[in-house]
Point group: C2
Chain length 343, copies 2
C-alpha cells in the first residue's frame, strides 16, 4: 500500500498544483484579496499528508478499468470536497492546528471574526468547486449526475453527523446513539470516495452494494482509531495537544464505553474531569487511566478491529483487480496495526 | 405585479410546506434532534415574505412556456438555496433579526457556539438540498446539468462577494471596487433565479444573454435600494435597528459616494462616527445628514434608477410573454418607487 499511496499521492498533488495555478490566475484577476485567500487555500490543501480519500477513489476506479487517466481530475474534486468539510469542522471545533500548520480560520489578519467568516465562505466555495470538477471531467453526463447526487447526499449526511457530534457535547449518548452519529461521518466520506471511483469505473451494481457496506466498515474502523489517537497519542506523535476533544465535551466511542463499563464512582470522576475542562496533563492522565482500567479502551479497539475484518471480507468479494483489493486490505490492516500502539 | 406575486407566493409556500412535511418525517426518523433542527428550518423559511427570487424563476419559465406545473418544484429549490445563503450571511454579519423573527443561529439553546455551529451546518445542508430538488424534477438531465453548473458558479460568486464585503469593513473601497464586490452579490442571485426559469423554459440563447444582463441591473438596483433602506428606514418600517450595518463597518454605495463627494471635514466626521461604533440615535442621525448633504444619497438613488431603467429596456427586448414582461417591469418600478420614500 505504502508504495501505491506514495506514488498516487504525488500524482494527485501534481494535478492539484495545476488546478490551483489556473484558478489562482482567475481569482487574482477578480480581486487581489480574493487571490490572496485562494493562495491560502492552496497552501492549506497542499500541506504534506497521505491522500487516503482520493487514492481510494483512484484505486476503486483502477480496480474496474485498469486505467487512471481520467480519474485524476476527479481526485482533485475529492480533495477539494474533503478540505472544505475540514475547514468548517476546524472552525466549529475551535481547533488550532491541522496537518502541521494553523487551521484555515487562523490564517487571516484583523479580528477573529474576519478569519472565521472567511472560513465559512471558503468551506462553501470548496464544496461548489469540488462538484464543478465533475462537470469538467471526461465522464458522461449520466454518470456525473449519479456521482453529484452521491455527494449532495454525503454532504448532508456529514453536516447532520457533525450536528449530532455537537449535541453530544451536552449529553451522554448510548453506544447505539453514537452509531447513529458515526454512520454519517467518516463512513460517509469513504462511501462517497470509493463509490465515485467504482461508479465512474463502471462497476457492476452488485459490487456498488458491497463497496457501500465495506466503505461503511472502513469508515467506522478509521473513525474509532482516529478518536483513540486523539486521546492517547503523545503530543509529538499527534501534532496537537491530546485529550482536547474530550475536554471540549466530545463523546468518542471509548468515552461512550467508559460511561457504560466503569463503576459508578469512576463514572462520576470521569464526568467531573470532563466538566472541569481545564484539568492539565494530570487530569488527562487520570482520564486515560479510567478509560483503560474499566475495559473501554480494549472494547473499543475490538470494535474497530471487527469493522476492519468485515471490510476486508467484503472487499475480497468484489470483482476489483488484485492490486486494488490489496491496496484496500493493506489500508485496513494499517488501521488495525495502528491501534496496537496505544496501550 | 402584486396580484401575481401574491398568487405565486402562495403556490410556492404550499409546495414548500409539502416539501417540509416529507423531509421532516425522514429527519425525525434519523434522530429526534435532527428533526427538531429541521422544524426550525421550516419555520425560518416559511416566515411571511414575498418570494421575489423564486417568483422570478417562475415568471421567466412561464414567459417562455405558458405553463407553471413543473417549475414549482424548482422554486422550492430556489428558496432553499436563498435561505441557506441568508443563514450564513446573518451569522457572519452577527445580525439579530430576520423577517420578524430571530436569525437562525439564535434559535438554539446551550451556548452561542452551539447555534452558530448549527447555522454553519444547516446553511450547507440547504445548499445541497436545493441542488437535489433539481435532480428530482421532471426536467431532462442535460438541462438540469446546465442549471446545476449555474448554481455552483453563483454560490462561489456570492461567497466571494461576501468575502469582499467583509474586507471592506477594514478599508474604504472606491466606486469601482464596490462594483467588483456587488457584481457577485444580489446581481448574482437574480441571474441564477431568472436564468434557471429561462433555461428550463427553453429560452433562445440570445434571450439568455439579454436576461443575464437584465438580471445584473435588477440586482444592482435592488442591492442599492436595500442598503439605502438599511440606513434610512425607521425601525418600525424596517423591523430591525437602522444604521447597524454601517456601524459594523459595512460600505454600502451611499457611504462609498459620501467618502467621494463630502468635503474633507465631513469625510473625517463620517470616519469618526463609523469608527466609534456605539454612537446612538444621535450619531446615526448625523450620519444620515452627512450622506444627504454631500449629495451621496441623491447620487446613489440616481444610480439605482439608472440600473432599473436599463433592466426594463432589456426585459422588453426578450421574447417572453407580455404577462412576464409586465411582472418584471412592475418589480423594477417597485424598487425605484421605494427609493423615493427616503428623503
Amino acid at each position: 500500500m505504502d508504495r501505491l499511496l506514495e506514488e498516487y499521492t504525488e500524482l494527485i498533488d501534481h494535478k492539484l498544483r495545476e488546478y490551483f495555478k489556473t484558478v489562482l490566475e482567475e481569482e487574482k484577476a477578480y480581486h487581489p484579496f480574493i487571490g490572496d485567500v485562494f493562495a491560502q487555500v492552496e497552501e492549506f490543501l497542499l500541506r504534506k499528508g497521505k491522500r487516503i480519500a482520493s487514492c481510494s477513489t483512484l484505486l476503486a476506479y483502477k480496480g474496474y478499468t485498469g486505467e487512471i487517466k481520467d480519474i485524476i481530475d476527479i481526485c482533485v474534486g475529492i480533495e477539494l470536497y474533503r478540505h472544505g468539510i475540514l475547514i468548517h469542522d476546524d472552525l466549529v471545533d475551535r481547533d488550532e492546528k491541522r496537518r502541521g500548520g494553523d487551521v484555515f480560520h487562523k490564517l487571516f489578519t484583523y479580528e477573529d471574526r474576519f478569519g472565521e467568516s472567511i472560513a465559512v465562505f471558503y468551506g462553501n466555495i470548496l464544496f461548489s468547486q469540488a462538484l464543478k470538477t465533475l462537470f469538467e471531467s471526461n465522464f458522461d453526463v449520466n454518470c456525473v449526475g449519479t456521482v453529484i447526487q452521491l455527494f449532495l447526499e454525503d454532504y448532508k449526511a456529514v453536516n447532520e453527523s457533525q450536528t449530532l457530534d455537537l449535541l453530544f457535547e451536552h449529553k451522554e449518548p448510548t453506544v447505539e446513539e453514537w452509531y447513529v452519529m458515526a454512520s454519517k461521518r467518516a463512513a460517509s466520506l469513504f462511501k462517497a470516495s470509493m463509490l465515485t471511483g467504482a461508479i465512474l469505473g463502471g462497476a457492476p451494481a452488485q459490487d456498488l452494494q458491497i463497496l457501500k457496506e465495506a466503505a461503511t466498515h472502513i469508515g467506522y474502523s478509521f473513525d474509532i482509531q482516529d478518536d483513540i489517537i486523539g486521546t492517547f497519542a503523545s503530543e509529538e506523535q499527534y501534532g496537537r495537544s491530546t485529550g482536547g476533544d474530550i475536554l471540549l465535551g466530545k463523546k468518542p466511542l471509548h468515552i461512550v464505553y467508559a460511561y457504560k463499563l466503569a463503576n459508578r464512582d469512576l463514572q462520576q470522576e470521569l464526568r467531573d474531569i470532563i466538566k472541569a475542562k481545564k484539568v492539565g496533563a494530570e487530569g488527562i492522565d487520570r482520564l486515560k487511566k479510567i478509560i483503560k482500567e474499566c475495559g473501554a479502551l480494549a472494547k473499543t479497539k475490538e470494535v474497530s478491529k471487527d469493522h476492519a475484518s468485515r471490510a476486508i471480507k467484503l472487499i475480497n468479494k468484489t470483482a476489483m483487480t488484485a492490486e486494488s483489493k490489496n491496496f484496500f486490505n493493506d489500508l485496513i490492516d494499517f488501521v488495525t496495526e495502528n491501534l496496537d500502539w496505544y496501550q
